[in-house]
Symmetry: C2
Subunit: 311 residues, 2 copies
């Protein structure tokens, strides 16, 4: 994802208008917003557009909470690549007097972190993470692999920013394909093209681009270069409020990364490959509002018909 210069007058004006019209609700914390009825209506309509595009493939539906077992994240190496984005869940298990001291400090907004200990839960960094161990637990894959629709899941990225296009907690609309390398890669490439069509049908102008994940540190630069060189990640960027278009969807070929981490086996015993795609739902809604304006009744009729085909 491209760097976003936050706080330009244009961006502040966009955020102010989103808040004044009740599309978003400020929480007092960067990157965390409530959503009003209209914002949610558009988000769910977009969700259904993706479901309709996915319908011919008859994916298996699996839904997961916004938390994942810490052991699973530890197995994937996520903390090596994205330590700066991960969120861990801590909780209290002390005595009554410690609870009193914790509450007294909290009431004064002082540091009470010493009373909190790590639990075995983390925040889900992507909606697809729980899929790999769940599918691995079934044993070897069927001959043509599997396709899982995880729907729209809450994910967490620890990157606090006042920019409403860069949230800490947001919805990823994800699908996951697991199988042999050729099938997985073909699926990923087909969906990249389908994603372009889908966003165009909503009046957006996506530019597909080879991309890299925001790997951490100096070693991360090499990982990013390798990811680009092998065209493992594509993103669709659309005009947003800043000077640069912003990624609203990504299409990722993991090679055997998750297959090896979770011992996902093909029918013939080989290590399975995987790919996933994700649409950032809040970003798509913001791009639609930015492109077509705040009055949905005035959006182009073809766009309205795609989002709300019945009404």
């Amino acid at each position: 994802m491209s760097a976003t210069s936050t706080g330009s007058p244009e961006q502040l004006q966009f955020l102010t208008e989103l808040l004044e019209r009740g599309l978003l609700v400020a929480s007092g914390t960067d990157g965390l917003f409530g959503r009003g009825a209209l914002f949610e209506d558009i988000r769910l309509a977009f969700n259904r557009v993706v479901s309709r595009a996915a319908a011919p493939e008859s994916a298996e539906a699996l839904h997961f909470p916004p938390l994942v077992p810490r052991r699973q994240i530890e197995r994937t190496g996520y903390l090596g690549s994205f330590p700066h984005l991960a969120g861990t869940v801590f909780a209290f298990s002390g005595t009554e007097s410690q609870a009193l001291e914790q509450q007294a400090r909290a009431a004064r907004h002082e540091d009470w972190s010493e009373f909190q200990a790590m639990t075995d839960l983390m925040l889900a960094p992507a909606a697809c993470y729980p899929v790999y161990p769940a599918v691995a637990a079934r044993g070897p894959l069927p001959a043509d692999g599997v396709l899982i629709d995880v729907g729209s899941g809450y994910v967490f990225r620890h990157e606090p920013s006042p920019d409403p296009t860069r949230l800490q907690s947001f919805h990823l609309r994800e699908l996951v394909r697991i199988g042999d390398p050729a099938a997985v890669r073909a699926w990923r490439d087909a969906w990249r093209d389908r994603g372009v069509e889908l966003l165009r049908s909503l009046g957006l102008e996506p530019s597909p681009t080879t991309a890299n994940d925001p790997f951490f540190g100096r070693a991360g630069r090499m990982l990013a270069e390798s990811q680009r060189e092998h065209a493992l990640k594509f993103e669709l960027h659309v005009p947003m409020v800043g000077p640069e278009p912003l990624a609203v969807a990504s299409f990722n070929y993991h090679q055997d990364h998750f297959g090896s981490a979770f011992d996902l086996r093909l029918a013939d015993g080989g290590v399975a490959h995987s790919a996933c795609l994700g649409f950032g739902e809040e970003r798509v809604v913001l791009a639609l509002l930015r492109t077509h304006g705040f009055d949905v009744a005035l959006w182009p009729a073809p766009v309205r018909r795609v989002l709300w085909p019945v009404s």
Copy 2:
């Protein structure tokens, strides 16, 4: 909520069947499950039943992520009453060498908690928490107060258990009423009766009961007694798998608790009172499966018509 004795043969059999039929998906961690297509279908159908029951009141829709600003929780005194249930979000902000050491320990499943520091986010303990500061930020309430429909939000309770009726991350379907004491209490009482009707229409047999929250420690016993004495909390219990019926809904009168914490003002300047109701969606689905069986096609026709009125 009544204590649950986990692990009885009957309960294990129920969980085994839920997993084998793909209604739930094990995560490897207590109190955390994925949900298959049928489970999710029933959950969303129940969600719409609540929405239809609420429709005549024309509530304002507001939706929030599963995280809330830590400062808000600190202001409510939640950590005094429920320190054992709260979840805090920690994250990394160290150097590259610390990131390497963190990842090395994580890969060995050793303790890497020292590299994590408290962020300004916590897990939402109830879907209604973000409502109070959001409404307070608008200024004094209109004369008849407000009614907010927060839909179905993910909440967190740190109470790991193998019992699928006691989850750490689950959906609460909540509505919130804020206004003068008489209006708020009348709304809460009306919804308690409506909740009984609603669950009866689904073939469940709810028994309304005066209840208390699971306050922490010795001081908590006094809070619990006072809550019961003033009938601030009602729950609807329905037969589940254990020997005791289990709470699937609660109807809570907060008096001026949130009004004072967030300076919520009535039109005349007085402190606003509030009430909320919440249906535990996963528990409702489990109660339906337990009561009517695993084959939805064989559920009583009137129950199917309430859940799926169109089909």
